[in-house]
C-alpha cells in the first residue's frame, strides 16, 4: 500500500522543504522506497537541500506534458538509494498544473513507491490546492508562534474541504510537526507550548524538532541533517520517519540543557 503525503504549512519559511527532505531521507533509511516531489512550481528549493541541483535535467511538468518519461526525470539520491527526487519546473509557474495530469502522475508514482511525499508551496493558492488534492495524508509543519499556527489552521481548513478525500466525505489523515522549538523559550513562556498548539489545531502530534543551527548549514551543503548522528534535530527527524513507517516511538519533548533526569523521564513518558 503506497501513500501520498503532502507536507503543508500555510505560512512560508517554517521549514516545509527542509522537513520534506529530512523525512523523505529518513523513510528511505528505514528501507522503504520513497520519492519526494517538489510541487513548488517556479520556486524549487528541494533539489538544493537534497544536494541534487546539478543533476536536474527533466522536471515534473515535462513528465506531465509527456515531454519526458517519468524514469528520465526521477533523480536517485546520493545519500540513500531508496530515495528518489522529482524536481519542479523552475521556468513555468503554478498555472500549468492540471488536476487530471497530477492524478495520473501520482498514480504512476504510487506504482513504484511506498511513500510519495509532496512538498507544497507556501500559501493557500492553486498550487497548494493541487498539492493536497490527491493526498492520503498530510504533514503540517508549524513553528511555535501565533502567525504560523493561524496560517496552518487555515491550510487545514482548506485541506479538509478541497481535498478529494474531504470532498468524498472522508478525511485526510493529519500529522503535526512542530519545528524550530527552543525549549528554553518554551520554559520561559516566550513560545507557544505544545499542548496549546495541539489544542488549537486538534491534530495528532508526529514529532517536535528542536531549533538547531546545524539545520541551515546542512541545507546549504545539500546534506540533510537527518544524516547527522550528532544532531538533535536529526534525531528528531529520524524518530519522525520511524513513526511514519509504523514504529511506535515515544514522543520526546526537547528539554532545556540544564534539565535534570526526572524531567527528561517525564518528557519520555508523555
Amino acid at each position: 500500500m503506497s501513500k501520498v503525503i503532502a507536507v503543508i504549512s500555510g505560512k512560508g519559511g517554517v521549514g516545509k522543504t527542509t522537513t520534506t527532505a529530512n523525512v523523505g531521507l529518513g523513510i528511505a533509511r528505514n528501507g522503504r522506497q520513497c520519492v519526494v516531489v517538489d510541487f513548488d512550481i517556479g520556486q524549487r528549493n528541494l533539489d538544493m537541500i537534497l544536494g541534487l541541483e546539478n543533476r536536474v535535467v527533466y522536471d515534473m511538468v515535462q513528465v506531465m506534458d509527456e515531454e519526458a518519461r517519468l524514469d528520465q526525470a526521477l533523480i536517485r539520491s546520493k545519500a540513500n538509494s531508496n530515495l528518489y527526487f522529482l524536481p519542479a519546473s523552475q521556468t513555468k509557474d503554478k498555472s500549468v498544473l492540471e488536476s487530471e495530469k497530477i492524478e495520473k502522475l501520482l498514480k504512476d508514482l504510487r506504482k513504484r513507491f511506498e511513500y510519495v511525499i509532496l512538498d507544497a508551496p507556501a500559501g493557500i493558492e492553486s498550487g497548494f490546492e493541487h498539492t493536497i488534492e490527491f493526498a492520503d495524508e498530510a504533514i503540517i509543519v508549524v513553528n511555535p508562534e501565533v502567525s504560523s499556527i493561524r496560517d496552518s489552521d487555515r491550510a487545514i481548513g482548506i485541506l479538509d474541504s478541497k481535498s478529494r478525500k474531504g470532498k468524498e466525505g472522508g478525511e485526510v489523515k493529519k500529522h503535526l510537526i512542530i519545528n524550530r522549538v527552543d525549549p528554553g523559550m518554551v520554559e520561559r513562556g516566550e513560545m507557544l507550548a505544545t499542548d496549546d498548539i495541539l489544542e488549537i489545531l486538534s491534530v495528532d502530534l508526529l514529532g517536535i524538532v528542536p531549533e538547531d543551527k546545524g539545520v541551515i548549514d546542512a541545507s546549504n551543503q545539500g546534506h540533510p541533517v537527518v544524516l547527522d548522528d550528532e544532531s538533535e534535530a536529526g534525531a528528531a527527524y529520524r524518530r519522525i520517519a520511524k513513526r511514519l513507517c509504523g514504529e511506535r516511538i515515544p514522543l520526546v519533548e526537547p528539554q532545556a540543557k540544564k534539565e535534570g533526569l526526572v524531567g527528561k523521564l517525564k518528557g519520555l513518558f508523555r
Partner: protein, 264 residues
C-alpha cells in the same frame, strides 16, 4: 435630545372564538404578562374586562412595524417618556412602546432595520454557496419552510429561526453567518468568524471574531478574539467570569457571570 433604546417582546394573537381566546389568556396569564399583546379580531366585553383586571398590556388591530425575522427590536423614546420609564417595571415598558408605535420615527427605524436584515439575509445566502466546509453548510441556510414548523412549537417567538448548533471547531478562514441564534460547542480559532442576528453562545475557547445583534451573548473569557454586541466592542478585560453573559439593560451593556450548570 436624549434617546434610549430597549427591547419589547410582542405576542401576536388573533380572536377567532372569544371563549377559546379567554381560556388561552387564562392559561397563559403569567407568560403573557411579560409581553405586549398585539390582538387582532373583535373584542368582547368579557375579553376587555379580563385584560384590564389582569393588568395585561395590549394593542388592538394594530399593524406593528415588524422586522421580517428576529424577535426583538429597539424603540426610540421621547425624552419626556424617559423619566416615567425609569420608574416603571419591565413589564409595563411594553405599554410605553405601544404609544410609540404610531410615531413616525420608530417606524422609519424599523424599516431601515427591516431593509438591513433583508439585505444581510441575501448576502448570507450568497456567501453560503461559497462556504468551503460542507459540514458547516448543513443547517446554516435555515430556510423559510423550516420556520413555519417552528411557529407552533415556539409560540413565544413566532418568527425566530431555530437555534443552530455548530459542533465542530471553526478554523481560521471559516465563517458561520446565521439570522437566528447560534450555539457553538467547540473552539473558534483565530481568523474564524461568527455573525448572528440572534444570540450567540460559545462554550469553547474564543480566538476569532464574534458579532451578535441578539438578546445576549454568552462567552468564556476571550484572550485574542473580538466580540461585537450590537456593534459595540466588548473589551476582553471585562470578561472576567468563566462564562460571561452580555446583555443590554436600559441601554447599558451588562456582563454577568453564568453558571455552566444552567446548560445541563
Amino acid at each position: 435630545m436624549k434617546c434610549s433604546q430597549y427591547n419589547v417582546k410582542v405576542f401576536e394573537i388573533g380572536i377567532e372564538d372569544p371563549g377559546t381566546f379567554l381560556k388561552f389568556l387564562e392559561a397563559n396569564r403569567a407568560l403573557l404578562g411579560q409581553h405586549l399583546l398585539s390582538i387582532h379580531g373583535e373584542m368582547t366585553e368579557e375579553i376587555y374586562a379580563f385584560l384590564e383586571s389582569n393588568g395585561l398590556h395590549y394593542v388592538l388591530n394594530m399593524t406593528l412595524p415588524q422586522a421580517k425575522r428576529g424577535v426583538q427590536r429597539f424603540r426610540m423614546l421621547r425624552p419626556e417618556d424617559e423619566a416615567q420609564t425609569a420608574q416603571e417595571s419591565a413589564a409595563s415598558e411594553g405599554e410605553k412602546s405601544k404609544a410609540e408605535e404610531t410615531d413616525s420615527l420608530p417606524k422609519e427605524l424599523a424599516e431601515v432595520r427591516d431593509w438591513l436584515r433583508k439585505k444581510r439575509g441575501e448576502s448570507t445566502e450568497k456567501e453560503l454557496q461559497k462556504e468551503e466546509t460542507k459540514t458547516l453548510e448543513e443547517g446554516v441556510s435555515a430556510s423559510d419552510e423550516s420556520l413555519s414548523g417552528q411557529v407552533e412549537k415556539d409560540e413565544e417567538f413566532p418568527e425566530a429561526p431555530p437555534l443552530k448548533i455548530v459542533r465542530q471547531a471553526l478554523r481560521s478562514g471559516q465563517s458561520v453567518r446565521y439570522d437566528g441564534s447560534l450555539l457553538l460547542t467547540e473552539r473558534i480559532n483565530s481568523g474564524a468568524q461568527v455573525a448572528a442576528l440572534g444570540s450567540v453562545i460559545a462554550l469553547g475557547p474564543v480566538e476569532g471574531n464574534i458579532s451578535s445583534t441578539g438578546e445576549c451573548v454568552i462567552v468564556p473569557p476571550i484572550r485574542r478574539g473580538t466580540l461585537l454586541f450590537h456593534g459595540r466592542t466588548i473589551e476582553n478585560d471585562a470578561l472576567i467570569h468563566p462564562l460571561n453573559k452580555i446583555t443590554f439593560v436600559d441601554d447599558q451593556v451588562v456582563i454577568q457571570p453564568i453558571n455552566k450548570k444552567e446548560f445541563h
